[in-house]
């Protein structure tokens, strides 16, 4: 037994080392010290002036300049085809990369608490991911074919720039597939004792490979937005690491990483809601209610810091190219940020509504229910401020009646200081909903409970005053440099509330008296809120993905390779809106298919001989 334990420990160590190696794979091979990978790809710090050999001249080939005739015409808009397929690949890619992340945490929680319900739930989450994985691969393959067929010059250039890194991506994809299948299908075989740790190590490895896949693919998108490692005509002058680590790479990496978790949580939440509504027994309803609550918890917790990651991304876009930043937030795409506000508002309202409804599960919630109406009022007011546009599309008659292009009351609410206040307050009050929900089934027993509560209330009060003061004073009464600088104060105030709330509650409710919770005792309306979340998230991802891609305007690779195809223009907002809606509906249909497949795998047909009264009938009964 002892020998077996030691040998298993070696297995874990080996797996962990492989996980670490795979995670740092691309970085380790691509340092400027120059491994085989770097040397194979790049001209290694060669400047144009040093070009002497024929080989170097070949490496310094500029980006292609295709004419309109170089783009194949298949009778349908090439951009529309790639738009739909790429977006579908991204949706499913986000889902399959995110689910194993929180599955690993839930599985670990099951090990530490000894509660097998966590393990069952984690396994069920993976069931959704496994079907989605095949669909991700199918859309990925279709996307690659579509790109090579419809944009051959662009793809030839991208292949030349990234070279063997594309093969590394392929290898990682194989690794991801193999580990994913072992992780899922080996769940019950590696469930107890030391074997469980092997399984957890596999989960870690899976996430390491998944994260590396994501950042590798991100480097292609960010290279197209902000190319690095190439000169002004697009010739490769840096090694692969210099090409990958462009100014937008890490902001995108962080933003997608957090967004994927929120998105994945929302999608599996919808699955839980679907199962909860369809449950035929009290036990099943209680199980799926708990699963839905956990999913919402993951989605909202990941969503809270997401605006800050988005803020960093936009700040880096502005720092890279002011023109690009203004195109996004001050030009034609600016209106899309109003739609973004509507969608984020929908997510926050739905998330809050679910928490308020869920409070009915415990009698202890009566202590906090009085707060709900005030939180709702603040959320609605902030939501309305956030969606207020700065510049209205008006006729000359309307401008004359208004006395100018800006409404004297709504104008000030349409600019960033007002929106910064609104966004931060919405996040603070959403966290408040979250916190009172978490507290509703507990009674603190520590001696310093009163002081702890006073401190938490003081933090809320001062943070809210700080957010409003920074927004109003620095936003409206000082110059722009203060306006931008003070927004960081607001962000930090919000983060302080969230971090202090989580830490303080962890200590305050240590050894707390727990009041009974009745899982399953929640209104069906709460489950519908769980359906609203993934739809709003999907639409939001389609919207902001379009904005991110469109800021390149008429460039395939910004400032380096022009787009001369018939689609080299920013489409109208209506057209873009229709495309986003199409991909969202398509994704929802595919997700329903996945839910159905996941349900089908747990369904067993009852043999005809077992049905005594109707021997010829074929009955289908769910085992869940």
């Amino acid at each position: 037994m002892k020998a077996s334990r030691y040998s298993l420990r070696w297995v874990w160590m080996t797996l962990l080392i492989i996980a670490a190696l795979s995670f740092f794979w691309s970085g380790a091979m691509t340092t400027s010290s120059g491994g085989w990978f770097s040397e194979a790809i790049a001209a290694n710090n060669t400047s144009i002036g040093e070009v002497t050999t024929e080989n170097d001249e070949l490496k310094l080939r500029p980006a292609p300049k295709p004419t309109r005739a170089d783009y194949p015409d298949i009778g349908v808009s090439s951009r529309s085809i790639v738009w739909v397929v790429a977006q579908m690949h991204l949706f499913f890619g986000a889902l399959v990369l995110a689910v194993p992340l929180f599955v690993l945490v839930i599985e670990l929680l099951g090990v530490y608490t000894g509660d097998s319900r966590y393990d069952d739930m984690a396994h069920e989450f993976m069931k959704i991911s496994i079907t989605a994985y095949s669909i991700t691969a199918l859309f990925g393959g279709t996307l690659a074919l579509a790109l090579f067929l419809l944009y051959p010059d662009l793809m030839a250039y991208m292949m030349r720039v990234f070279g063997a890194q594309m093969m590394v991506y392929g290898i990682l994809f194989f690794l991801e597939s193999m580990i994913l299948y072992i992780y899922y299908y080996g769940w019950d075989a590696l469930r107890y004792g030391n074997a469980k740790w092997v399984h957890l190590s596999l989960g870690l490895l899976l996430n390491g490979v998944g994260a590396t896949l994501m950042v590798t693919a991100n480097s292609w998108a960010t290279f197209m937005m902000a190319p690095s490692g190439v000169n002004e005509v697009g010739a490769v002058v840096g090694n692969i690491w210099e090409i990958m680590k462009g100014p937008l790479w890490n902001p995108i990496n962080l933003h997608r990483f957090i967004a994927n978790i929120a998105f994945g949580g929302a999608v599996v939440g919808a699955y839980a809601a679907y199962k909860c509504l369809a449950a035929r027994t009290t036990e099943a309803r209680a199980h799926y209610d708990w699963m839905g609550y956990t999913s919402n918890f993951i989605a909202i917790l990941a969503f809270l810091p997401l605006p800050f990651a988005g803020y960093w991304l936009m700040a880096e876009i502005y720092a890279y190219s002011q023109q690009m930043g203004i195109t996004a937030m001050g030009g034609i795409l600016a209106w899309l940020f109003i739609i973004q506000a509507v969608l984020i508002g929908t997510i926050l309202l739905a998330g809050n509504y679910y928490l308020w409804s869920g409070m009915s599960r415990t009698e202890g919630s009566k202590r906090y229910q009085g707060f709900v109406k005030y939180i709702a009022v603040v959320l609605v007011i902030c939501f309305l401020i956030w969606v207020t546009p700065h510049t209205l599309i008006l006729t000359s008659g309307e401008i004359a009646a208004l006395g100018g292009s800006h409404h004297h009351l709504l104008g000030p609410l349409g600019i960033m200081p007002a929106k910064n206040i609104a966004v931060n307050l919405m996040l603070v009050f959403t966290f408040m909903s979250f916190q009172i929900y978490r507290r509703s089934d507990k009674v603190a027993t520590v001696s310093w409970a009163k002081a702890g509560n006073a401190l938490m209330i003081a933090i809320y009060a001062v943070a809210i005053i700080n957010i409003i003061f920074a927004g109003v004073y620095y936003g409206y009464f000082t110059n722009t440099v203060y306006k931008v600088g003070s927004s960081v104060m607001q962000v930090m105030s919000t983060l302080t509330v969230i971090i202090c709330g989580v830490v303080l509650d962890a200590f305050l409710y240590r050894g707390a008296k727990t009041l009974p919770s009745h899982w399953g005792q929640v209104s069906n309306r709460a489950q519908y809120a769980l359906f609203a979340l993934p739809i709003a998230f999907t639409w939001l991802m389609a919207l902001m993905g379009y904005v991110r891609s469109s800021v390149r305007t008429h460039w395939h690779v910004y400032t380096v390779m022009k787009d001369t195809s018939p689609d080299n223009f920013i489409p109208t907002i209506g057209y873009a809106g229709n495309m986003m809606t199409i991909v969202t509906v398509l994704f929802v249909l595919f997700v329903l298919f996945i839910f159905w497949i996941a349900n089908l795998s747990g369904t067993k047909q009852v043999p005809a001989y077992a049905v005594n009264k109707e021997p010829t009938a074929e009955r289908v009964g769910s085992v869940t």
Partner: protein, 42 residues
Amino acid sequence: MIKNLHIWLFAFTITLLYFYGLDLFIMSMQGLPLNMDLTPAQ
């Protein structure tokens, strides 16, 4: 009653000091003064 008052005073004092320090730190990090005199900065 007095004890409660002390608790609240203590909580708010700590929090106010923390946020003042945070604001000061964030603005100075960006090379900006924490202009509290309500005079528009130039």
